[in-house]
Amino acid sequence: MAAIRKSKMISGATLLRLVLLAALVATFAIWNPAFISGRNLYALMQSFALLGMVALGLSLTMIAGEFDLSVGSMVAVGGLITLVIGAGNLVHGVVAALAFAVLVGLVNAFVISRFKVSSLVVSVGSMMALSGFAFWLAGGKVISTDNFDLGMALDDPLLTVLSWRSVVTLAAFLLVGLFMHYTLMGRDIRVVGSKPQVAAASGARVGRSLVIVFVLSAATAALAGSLLSMSLASAAATTGSTLMLQAVSAAIVGGVALSGGSGTPAHVLLGSLILTVMNNGLSLIGMGATGILFANGLVLMGIVLLDGQLGAWMSERLAMSRAVHSA
């Protein structure tokens, strides 16, 4: 904790989330020691691999002050393309799914910026169109494959708790985090989200920011769908129907504001982990699906309410503590 206090990188809001995550882990570990068993942490990271990847892309659009409602449908389409195009070779399927996602991201960004339409409206349209496309691709069936090998390889435990699937998600967080923190484009995206008029006047690349966030949002969703379909050796048009809301929750729990401009991939990582830990832990202690959904709602509301109050208080305490240390 002392190290955390000394760090100037950490805000009250982040500390609040770290404390919440640690409290959740400690509570579940005490309640049921199986929670911290390697195999359960592996199960937890498998859930995170899916949710985190979708939340990462979606949160970028939120940081840019926009919204991509189509991520859930994109997960289904990504999975279906992977199995349909990749019938002979799944790698071809993954490439095709990513290429298609880039195209969808470009179209979304183009329509939003060229015709000045709200991203909410545009992405409702693309969500419905993608959903229709998914049902057409699936032809009313579940598409499955007997090729379990790649899925098994992706899901095989690595260092006990990880798998290649969760490593890919963690790597995506790292890459996007570095991009947002160290590049001018990353700064532009944040500025566009917080002060769009100022951003345009000061020369921030508004159009390009939109293209990047919507392409990344679609691509991460499609990649999540691709990896999931290989893992399940099947894909259906209804996959991902609840993922969009979970991903929004993860982003908000992580501290990404709906109004745009705030939040980082590291925050989204924390938000995704908080939700995954909570869901895994509650399931382990025997809570039903409805109870878990209820708990999710409470945490989401609690975090939003606390952010204003406790986050500010913690920031103040941190500032005071820093002042004392530097004095």
Binding site: R39, A43, L44, G140, F148, L232, S234, T242
Partner: protein
């Protein structure tokens, strides 16, 4: 739930419990940790299945944990990972999706945990991954419908020849294919004079079934002596179409399926001849009994199908009892 329903449900579950309790030793099942991974508790069938399962598991002394995924295949995959981590003595699993569950079944097999699949059987070619399947058989369901059709011809004195048609579910789904297959097999073997003269898809939907039946009544006219609708709600559509075509439904042998409330009412008022019962209580009970037997080291059949009782006006009360109404 009103008092009468509650009483019936209690009676039904008491009968289940009563059948299980006496003379059965659950040496190894007693105290064993079993995880039931099921789909939802928000459909009547699923809720009754789960309740019956719990009753029998409790009677066997099983330490049961239930995980529900709301028909989310990805969520179920992660629940399987978690269940394996808990090292239970056995897992009972209702697949959210019979294809997407296969890699998870493989993981359970690799972990060496005994597995009972309930209700929805994945493709037979993966059967090495599970120990027992218990649940409905759509072929058996169709066979019972065929038997009911033959009995109806005899009861209504329609002779041993005549044309019938089938209103099917969503094309390509296992119940649509297998129910028709069972139905036609039985007619072929036992009553070759009764011919299936037409088939149309009703997509499990009453309106669609009305259109499908109307087309078949127009095509086949008054030569139709019977109709098999693969679900009772579709039979309601068939009855509407028959009336519009000027045919008295009570003069036909109308055989439905599922014992749904429409079917029960139509059987009571004499417009529908029969339906085929698939009991959710039996479904849950069979799965729990199979896992208890498995844990006790008893020899258990690889596949245990539910009985598909034929329901007519004479025994329509069985429908309500079986569904806890």
């Amino acid at each position: 739930m009103n008092f009468a329903k509650l009483t019936k449900l209690l009676l039904a579950t008491t009968v289940v419990g009563g059948l299980m309790a006496p003379g059965m030793a659950f040496a190894a099942a007693k105290g064993a940790k079993v995880i039931l991974l099921t789909v939802t508790e928000e459909c009547e069938y699923c809720a009754l299945h789960q309740r019956a399962f719990k009753e029998v598991a409790a009677a066997a002394g099983i330490d049961l944990e239930v995980k529900i995924n709301n028909y989310d295949a990805a969520e179920q995959a992660s629940q399987v990972d978690q269940a394996i981590a808990q090292k239970p003595d056995a897992i009972v699993l209702w697949p959210a999706d019979a294809s997407a569950i296969v890699p998870s079944l493989r993981k359970i097999k690799q972990a060496g945990i005994p597995l009972v699949i309930t209700n929805s059987r994945p493709d037979e070619k993966y059967s090495q991954f599970w120990d027992v399947f218990t649940g409905p058989s759509d072929i058996g369901n169709g066979e019972s419908a065929g038997e009911a059709m033959i009995k109806g011809f005899s009861d209504k004195k329609l002779g041993s020849d005549g044309k019938v048609f089938i209103v099917e579910g969503v094309p390509g789904t296992p119940p649509q294919i297998q129910r028709s297959q069972g139905f036609e097999d039985v007619l072929g073997k036992k009553a070759s004079g009764i011919q299936v003269a037409g088939k149309q898809n009703g997509n499990w939907d009453q309106t669609k079934a009305t259109d499908a039946a109307a087309a078949l009544f127009t095509q086949l006219g008054s030569s139709v002596k019977g109709v098999y609708a693969q679900a009772d709600n579709m039979m309601s559509g068939v009855i509407v179409a028959a009336k519009r075509a000027g045919i008295d439904p009570a003069s036909l042998v109308l055989v439905g399926s599922n014992c749904s409330i429409e079917g029960v009412n139509q059987i009571k008022d004499g417009t529908q001849y029969a339906t085929v019962l698939q009991s959710p209580i039996d479904d849950g009970k069979y799965a729990a009994q199979a896992v208890a037997d498995l844990l006790d080291g008893k020899k258990v059949e690889k596949q245990i199908f539910l009985p598909h009782e034929i329901i007519t006006k004479a025994n329509v009360a069985d429908c309500n009892a079986a569904l806890g109404r």
